[in-house]
């Protein structure tokens, strides 16, 4: 049996770990609130952009735009959104693995957001050709646009033929789901379905449909990215909160069982001392 002093030391150490996890839990709860409001703010813009593309695609049959046309795939780019910091349960591993599953049989060019994803793929001997550390906790539209610009450039230069985006979609505080979506080429059929129910209004485009599309499609890509970043940020905090909550819970259990052990050891030592005294007194008779 471990000595009383050892057990006491362990209790102390578990206790201080618990204080840390408790504090982290509270911090991420506060950050989650902020991330959620940010997430809400991104939605109206995204919906409007989507609607506009939908109505242009619908109103102009046979429109040929490089971002809308599917071409033969030689190289696929993957944008994987992870966090910079750990201690958030399976959050980073889940989304990285989901991305890895989609990469099978593909000639991959990797772009990572967040340090954890980069490290994960480095261990798998896949180097990321674009890295964006330090954006995942508090994403801004400007950062999303920078990433978007990079992939649009590569796409325009035909260095890549399609772009996938792997991120964690935020279902609720306790539930996050790693998701992989196709970002480019933009799927025109999807928009056609979307606008199927809307009434057909005559719309003019100034200067032209192409010009408007030229402006709108990059925005669409940026906003999808921005939305994904915002969702991932919220998911990260949610995952961390859950992880820290269960860590705190576990620390309680550990302290309980250690305290029990400690009391047993204390009792045992008292019993031993007593029996030694009694034995000593007995011997004197």
């Amino acid at each position: 049996m471990a000595s009383m002093r050892d057990i006491k030391r362990r209790i102390k150490s578990v206790n201080s770990t618990q204080q840390i996890t408790k504090a982290m839990n509270l911090v991420s709860a506060a950050k989650l609130q902020k991330a959620k409001t940010n997430l809400e703010g991104t939605r109206p813009f995204f919906q409007k952009v989507q609607q506009t593309i939908a109505s242009i695609v619908k109103n102009s049959e046979g429109l040929n735009h490089p971002y809308l046309t599917v071409r033969e795939v030689k190289k696929s780019a993957f944008i994987v959104v992870t966090s910079d910091r750990g201690l958030c349960g399976g959050y980073n591993a889940n989304v990285s693995k989901e991305a890895l599953r989609h990469m099978v049989d593909k000639n991959v060019q990797l772009i990572t957001v967040g340090k954890k994803g980069r490290d994960f793929f480095k261990r798998k001997k896949i180097n990321s050709e674009g890295e964006f550390p330090g954006v995942s906790e508090n994403p801004t539209y400007a950062e999303a646009a920078r990433i978007g610009q990079l992939v649009l450039d590569l796409y325009a230069k035909t260095e890549i033929d399609e772009v996938y985006l792997a991120y964690t979609s935020f279902k609720s505080t306790i539930q996050q789901e790693p998701t992989v979506i196709k970002l480019l080429p933009v799927d025109a059929d999807k928009f056609q379905q979307m606008s199927a129910g809307e009434e057909n209004s005559v719309m003019n485009y100034d200067p032209s449909e192409e010009e408007v599309l030229n402006y709108v499609i990059p925005r669409y890509v940026y906003t999808v990215l921005f939305g994904a970043l915002a969702e991932s940020a919220a998911s990260e905090q949610g995952a961390r909160m859950t992880a820290m909550d269960s860590a705190t819970e576990n620390a309680y259990d550990m302290i309980d069982s250690l305290t029990l052990k400690f009391n047993r050891a204390r009792q045992a030592s008292i019993t031993q001392e007593l029996s030694e005294i009694v034995g000593g007194a007995e011997a004197l008779k």
Binding site: G41, P44, F45, T52, N204, Y215
Partner: protein
């Protein structure tokens, strides 16, 4: 007057910037200024970086718009833009510093800077300065 107003929405990626009824909005499109009133024909147009003038009950407000596009319907105008700011929100000193920096880079004609990006930065700074100076002069 009231029945001839039109709903104007300005949305940026991170927030709903403006959503009210207005009498007229003057925006800078890529082909020049366009005044938007009630019952305008339906049009989608791309916007240049510039100032939007919003007229409401005889008063005029200005804001900076950093590009974007406007969807105009007879009873509603929706503007999507990368960034929108009221004059009070603009950091003039920062804009002036950005203007100076961009001008220096343009005069150096250095290869390491992306020309298009620098020109865009200069334009953004100029728009911001214009909006905020008009605001302080009007006071």
């Amino acid at each position: 007057m009231a029945k001839n107003s039109v709903r104007l929405q300005i949305i940026t990626p991170s927030r709903k910037f403006f959503d009210e009824k207005v009498d007229m909005a003057i925006v800078r499109t890529s082909n020049g200024y366009m005044g938007l009133l009630h019952d305008h024909e339906s049009v989608v147009t791309t916007l240049d970086m510039g100032v939007i003038r919003i007229q409401q009950n005889g008063k005029e407000r200005r804001a900076s718009l950093m590009g974007g596009f406007a969807e105009v319907l007879p009873d509603q105008i929706t503007i999507l833009t990368d960034e929108a700011e009221w004059p009070e929100e603009i950091d003039v000193d920062r804009a002036k510093a950005a203007k100076k920096r961009a001008e220096e880079r343009l005069s150096e004609k250095a290869q390491e800077y992306n020309m298009a990006r620098t020109q865009a930065a200069l334009k953004r700074a100029l728009v911001r300065i214009e909006v905020s100076e008009h605001h302080t002069n009007a006071k």
